[in-house]
């Protein structure tokens, strides 16, 4: 190109906006009808039937957890719960690409990802109810679960993920950190700083933004003029992918490729999963009909991720209504057992809180510990 042509293109801002739009096509393997649209990609995903069954089970488990949690919350037996229906592929197929050694940085909506990493459901319930024991990140048999607590401060998990990523690189681990935020989360300064730091150190990280269309009541388009959130990954020099977030196979493929790239020492990757929040923002009084229509919600239910995966797997002969029903029952029984377990946990003590604030308590804290211990609190 001549300088004149180049300069002209640089100053053609309309063209540039178009370029921003076109630079991020959507990765897609399984379409809305449950048909494979890219056989090559499917091969590249390299999922055995067992893998497919496991991903489907995780999605079903997540859906059941969502249904039960929402119900329990309505009865006042849950504290805070952020529904996950609609995001099962985005959460369960993405996290399936990671190992025990990888570190998870979840947001408040990413409870299912921690659960499949080994966090017992009763702990998730305790976290939700507000009990310190929920945040002991160990499996039932005492093995460490490489996860942070679900982050409430939107963005904080991204800067912290950069530190884990750098640490894994320094320790020469074959592992990455994988961090989640929402579409709203991409507006926070920490979101950019986290990706930028991890990128600058070429550290081991995969960053996800689950674009579910809303930040509480605020629609995605009010967050940013960027046509694709994926463009935000470019601000840190990261390869950035938009994926159909209701397509479990495509989500898995993107996550797997991203992890492989990062573990190989190439630096982090950013993935935007296009999905939808089919339920209220949380169980704390949100009413979606204040800011979106029932028709819009109904429309999105048609593309929810379990539907198409079910169709595909039934065609493959590896899934059926009966299998699902049996599994649903199993999951629900498990949930029941976990609720019982959570119900029976000892009351928290203020004196313990004080002992968990500083390793060596202050003079005033020592007085306070004594007082509360005397009161049995």
């Amino acid at each position: 190109m001549t300088t004149t042509e180049t300069n002209k293109k640089i100053l053609d801002f309309d063209y540039q906006l178009q370029q921003q739009d076109e630079s991020f096509p959507t990765l897609s393997v399984l379409n809305n009808e449950g048909e494979i649209v890219d056989e090559e990609a499917l091969k590249r995903a390299n999922l055995t039937n067992d893998d497919l069954v496991e991903i489907m089970k995780r999605m079903v488990m997540s859906r059941q957890l969502d249904i039960r949690s929402t119900k329990l919350a309505k009865q006042g037996r849950f504290g805070f719960f952020a529904p996950t229906a609609g995001q099962e592929a985005s959460q369960m197929a993405s996290s399936y690409a990671f190992n025990d050694d990888d570190w998870l940085m979840p947001g408040y909506r990413d409870i299912p990802e921690i659960v499949v990493k080994g966090w017992p459901i009763w702990k998730a319930i305790l976290w939700s109810r507000g009990h310190e024991l929920g945040n002991v990140f160990e499996t039932e048999d005492g093995k460490p679960v490489n996860s942070w607590m679900p982050q409430i401060i939107i963005g904080a998990q991204y800067v912290e993920a950069a530190g884990i990523a750098l640490g894994l690189k320094k320790r020469k681990k074959d592992a990455v950190v994988y961090a989640y935020t929402g579409d709203g989360g991409t507006s926070q300064g920490d979101f950019y700083e986290g990706m930028d730091f991890a990128g600058a150190y070429h550290a081991n990280a995969v960053f996800f933004s689950q674009n579910n269309g809303f930040a509480i009541s605020t629609p995605r388009k009010l967050q940013t003029a960027a046509p694709h959130l994926a463009a935000k990954g470019w601000s840190a020099g990261l390869p950035s992918v938009v994926v159909d977030g209701n397509d479990a196979i495509a989500v898995y493929l993107a996550a797997k490729e991203a992890r492989a790239w990062s573990v190989a020492g190439n630096g982090p990757v950013f993935i935007e999963t296009l999905t939808n929040r089919l339920e209220p923002h949380s169980t704390a009084g949100d009413d979606p009909l204040r800011y979106r229509t029932q028709a819009d919600i109904d429309e999105h239910w048609k593309f929810e991720p379990l539907l198409r995966m079910r169709t595909y797997m039934e065609k493959l002969g590896i899934w059926s209504e009966e299998i699902e029903q049996a599994y649903v029952e199993q999951v629900n029984q498990e949930i029941d057992e976990n609720i019982a377990k959570a119900d029976n946990v000892e009351k928290q003590k203020i004196s313990d809180f004080l002992k968990h604030t500083l390793e060596v308590p202050s003079f005033a804290m020592t007085e306070q510990i004594k007082k509360f211990e005397e009161e049995g609190k």
Partner: protein
């Protein structure tokens, strides 16, 4: 006068401010169509339009910067921080920028900004939603920190805050939003900033409280009355600057002081009140100052909130101790 809830009084104040001055703007996360997560701005976008009441992207530092920038075009921003625990994301805008600009510009520019935000415990929110962080912002010169303890004050102090040409952190007690109702005068009125109110007269002991602790202090005073102790309750209303004269007056009157706050002992503004007394009015004291505050742990997880928080009985016990000292 009609009886209204604390949050309805706030919404009414916002409505009146928007009506009175076309330069006032309300913005923040979800304040538009949704009317805020607590409905404090419910209906205001419909009434005043998206130009006056609008959502922001999800970034508190951006919201603070937006407010500061808008003042250059003679707007009077009322910005919302969805929960005060998210104040850390906007600390530079508050403590590094808006508070300093009148000074920086040699008094040629000012910052008529109100930062509205809910705080305080007792509603079992997730963590970072209930912390009492007023003591942190009260350490910042160049801003005011206002913490109304009843619906009438909530409305009157809010309108004063909006009229103020200096930045005001206006803290709304989450627990009181719907649990506290009271008489609220009709129409537009202002309640002076930096002025404490005697919420109950008494002669034996002064309970100095603010925000969510004021209703507890009033309850404690009732219990104390049954025990023959006549407690005065001073509601600070504005925790920065402090109303030193009102503090002095009640200390001189009763000679016995209990300072009560919802914040941890090492946080809050109770210590500041005690320091002022120990420097200015110590001779009026007949006993050491009693301090009722939460323990110095991290604000706890919701299930244990009830045990952790200061209770009216704690204030009663401390008041009895102080009164019986001599």
């Amino acid at each position: 006068m009609a009886v209204k809830s604390y949050i309805d009084a706030i919404r009414e104040g916002l409505d009146l401010a928007l009506e009175k001055d076309p330069d006032t703007l309300i913005f923040g996360e979800d304040v538009g169509q949704n009317g805020g997560v607590f409905r404090a701005t419910d209906g205001l976008q419909a009434k005043y339009g998206e130009d006056r009441v609008f959502n922001t992207p999800l970034a508190e530092s951006g919201i603070g910067g937006l407010a500061i920038g808008l003042t250059t075009q003679n707007y009077r921003p009322i910005m919302e921080i969805q929960f005060f625990g998210f104040i850390f994301e906007v600390m530079d805008s508050i403590a590094g920028q808006m508070s300093r600009n009148r000074f920086r510009f040699n008094n040629t520019r000012h910052m008529p900004i109100v930062v509205r935000s809910p705080y305080g415990g007792g509603t079992k929110t997730p963590e970072m939603h209930a912390d009492n962080l007023e003591g942190i912002v009260a350490q910042v010169p160049g801003i005011r920190v206002v913490m109304p303890a009843n619906p009438a004050d909530a409305k009157g102090l809010l309108l004063s805050s909006i009229e103020s040409n200096d930045p005001v952190i206006f803290l709304e007690n989450l627990h009181l939003y719907r649990s506290l109702k009271g008489e609220v005068p009709e129409g537009y009125y202002t309640t002076p900033l930096d002025t404490a109110a005697v919420a109950r007269e008494g002669k034996d002991v002064s309970i100095i409280a603010y925000g969510g602790t004021v209703p507890l202090a009033l309850k404690a005073a009732d219990t104390l009355a049954e025990q023959g102790i006549d407690a005065e309750v001073l509601d600070l209303r504005t925790v920065s600057p402090l109303d030193i004269e009102a503090i002095g007056k009640t200390v001189q009157k009763t000679g016995h002081v209990v300072v009560a706050q919802e914040a941890q002992r090492l946080a809050g503004v109770g210590s500041k009140v005690m320091a002022e007394i120990s420097e200015r009015f110590i001779l009026s004291l007949a006993a050491p100052i009693g301090f009722v505050a939460a323990p110095d742990s991290i604000y706890p997880f919701p299930q244990a909130e009830g045990d952790w928080m200061v209770k009216a009985d704690d204030i009663v016990a401390k008041a009895v101790e102080v009164v019986n000292y001599d």
